[in-house]
Symmetry: C2
Subunit: 421 residues, 2 copies
């Protein structure tokens, strides 16, 4: 057991929190990692669980297993209820507290409905393993119910899947779902033809993948439509219910609606009593500390960090990791007696999104890639970033199998009750 | 689409129902397969999901995928509400009905509490995928809570796992859980030593594996105790609650109790208004038909079938398969105009159970095997019986990984609410 006196408490074992913990290895600190889940989730591949390509255990690993060799780290499964800034304690929901010298909140984001939380039961988002198995269950159940439905209109509504939000998650969901329906499930039903499934991607803006170069948005739209996805641009969703979705002057009868449109930060700002933007992200100082508390940092999706041009740093894994490394460097410097304020500078590596299993769009800024080459690069990059050899091997095998046979391995309908998923 | 006029309705896609369907391939019948789940479950390996060794999708496959090439089979995901024997219709819970010429009920069993259903919330059984993820969550959560618990007595109760029932399921759970605690999780906690976990196997009879030869029971008890399991014989459980379990004059403080003691048949007997034994199994004729309805058959765990010596045919996969093949042969004969009553004869292949990852007990009657040779035979047999090359490969890989590294791949705590799991 490490007896260092400086105690760093990290809340959240996502990309940012884990990277920070890794970067503090060997430092004279002891670390407590608190997370409300027992697993780190590889969110970039979560849509593949939702669409039956990967098993839940292929994209999630126990946090304490990832940190098992770090005898300086204690992992706690616990719910945080608040932060006592004066007393420097993290308050847990069982009434206990954990004292800190330095606190790093890396608590991520949830999906949000722009003030329309009543849409959630009809349009689940995709942030947790349970979200993914809920979406998987709904998609698969819609086909099962369509097989038994005799009314043509209701059957078509069951075979219509609306996806709200044309960012990478929406694009990736649309591409894999249309392949699931048109290829994987084809020939397995007797009363319906799954190739008649309609997948509609609804984006309020004037192009999908708005963060990418316009020519890549154009490419992605065409690639999706070639797969059979209908792309609807320029109309915002104004209603989601059991009948379907309304966007602008259009109405779509759809029994399955998936939400890939908005995110809201975790309650970190509330715990701190700190200022936040509309999405709940804490407004941090240039060094990622919280105004008024130099020993508290917020990183990843829970923080609003601005780039020199005023745009926010995007909520992706690489930015969370960069922020984690930056805060680790600040902590190291302070332990060495250097209290200079070190502003964070974000380096944008690029944007990428897959479109089904044969195409992708990658925007590195200096070069733009599309088609199968981009898809292979995407696949290799994701295998590389997967944590642990075991999972790299398992995911590679699952993908190879799907690529060669078109069959998916995790087509399970589990858990009866959506709301408790 | 097959236009054969004879319609066989099969309820339940377990080992019996699937085997019957396979055996009817090429016959002049059309088949409707009804199941309330979308997947066939390989129950003999379910305990490995409960103990984090395998992912849910490694032991379950979509029924309609398994039957995709059988154009004579229509698969329906539906809940059966009853059987109209006079009108020859299966009644579904949405008010619709499916007419049959021949009906085969292969609806299996659930775990049962001998009239103590109030024990269920404290002592989950193991029959479905959700049961397995519930047990997995409870075991993993107990260690997480123990890591945070400061009271020594409460901590020891969290680190005590009681398993009720010394049949193969109880023995297999005990062996893998003690390995999970003593090997896999070792070194990952900072406040507890997982090697102090107590696993107690409670059996009311005077030996575990009562269906095996006495020397194998003896061997299994010794092998379990060598692994660190406490085997308690000769006392029946009289209470299960949040504090633990009471058996005879003994009381054990255990926060995790697993139920591997009793099963009850599905409601097939109720649907039919047929006579059943205490465990709910339908008392069938020697040809597995239901008294008074020659066109209705009950097979597998839902039926009570007696051997010549008066003992019931055991509720295992091989007996369900044999019964499925037998009923298929009867249907074929009748279609050919042969209405002879064909009594079913059970051929007992043997009993087998694993004890952790290095030993097993196999009783073929004419030969008894123990130790690592038995373990390898068990592994090869189960890989062989797994449906589909993809899963054989995936499970082999998972096992090889665990065998070599001791690490398990599916250590996920999912779903917050036990009762809705």
């Amino acid at each position: 057991m490490n007896q260092a006196s400086h105690h760093v408490v990290v809340v959240g074992a996502g990309f940012g929190g884990l990277e920070l913990t890794h970067a503090l290895a060997g430092q004279p600190v002891r670390i407590t990692m608190i997370d409300k889940r027992n697993h780190h989730l590889f969110q970039p591949l979560l849509y593949q669980v939702a669409t039956t390509a990967l098993a839940t255990s292929e994209v999630a690993w126990p946090i304490r297993h990832l940190l098992r060799k770090r005898k300086d780290v204690t992992t706690l499964l616990a719910n945080v209820a608040g932060v006592d800034r004066t007393g420097k304690r993290v308050l847990l929901d069982d009434g206990s507290a954990v004292a800190y010298d330095t606190l790093v909140l890396a608590t991520g984001a949830r999906h949000a409905y722009f003030g329309h939380d009543e849409w959630e039961p009809f349009a689940p988002g995709l942030k947790t393993l349970e979200d993914a198995t809920t979406i998987r269950r709904r998609i698969l159940l819609a086909f099962e119910q369509a097989e038994r439905e005799t009314d043509p209109a209701r059957r078509q509504a069951l075979l219509t899947i609306a996806i709200v939000g044309g960012g990478p998650t929406g694009v990736e969901l649309a591409g894999t779902i249309v392949e699931l329906a048109h290829d994987t499930l084809r020939g397995e039903f007797r009363n319906i033809d799954t190739r008649q499934t309609r997948v509609v991607l609804i984006e309020a803006g004037d192009r999908i993948l708005a963060n990418f170069a316009p020519e890549l948005s154009e490419y992605a739209s065409k690639a999706l439509e070639r797969l059979g996805v209908t792309v609807e641009l320029g109309r915002a969703v104004t209603r989601c219910d059991a009948e379907g979705v309304v966007f602008g002057d259009k109405q779509l009868a759809a029994r399955t609606i998936l939400w890939a449109a908005g995110v809201a930060a975790s309650p970190a700002a509330e715990w701190l009593g700190a200022k936040a933007d509309r999405a709940g992200r804490v407004l941090v100082e240039p060094d990622l500390s919280v105004p008024g508390s130099r020993e508290i940092f917020v990183i990843g999706d829970a923080a609003l960090v601005l780039r020199p041009d005023g745009r926010p740093v995007p909520g992706v894994a690489p930015s969370a990791k960069q922020e984690g490394r930056h805060v680790a460097a600040t902590i190291k410097a302070r332990l060495a007696g250097d209290n200079t304020v070190r502003p964070f500078h974000y380096k944008h590596a690029g944007d990428l999104a897959t479109i089904g299993k044969r195409a992708a769009a990658i925007d590195f800024g200096w070069i733009k890639l599309t088609g199968w080459l981009a898809w292979w690069l995407w696949g290799i990059a994701h295998i590389y970033f997967l944590i642990g050899f075991r999972n790299r091997l398992a995911v590679s095998l699952s993908w190879l199998w799907i690529y060669v046979t078109g069959q998916r391995s995790a087509r399970l309908i589990t858990q009866g009750d959506d709301d408790k998923a």
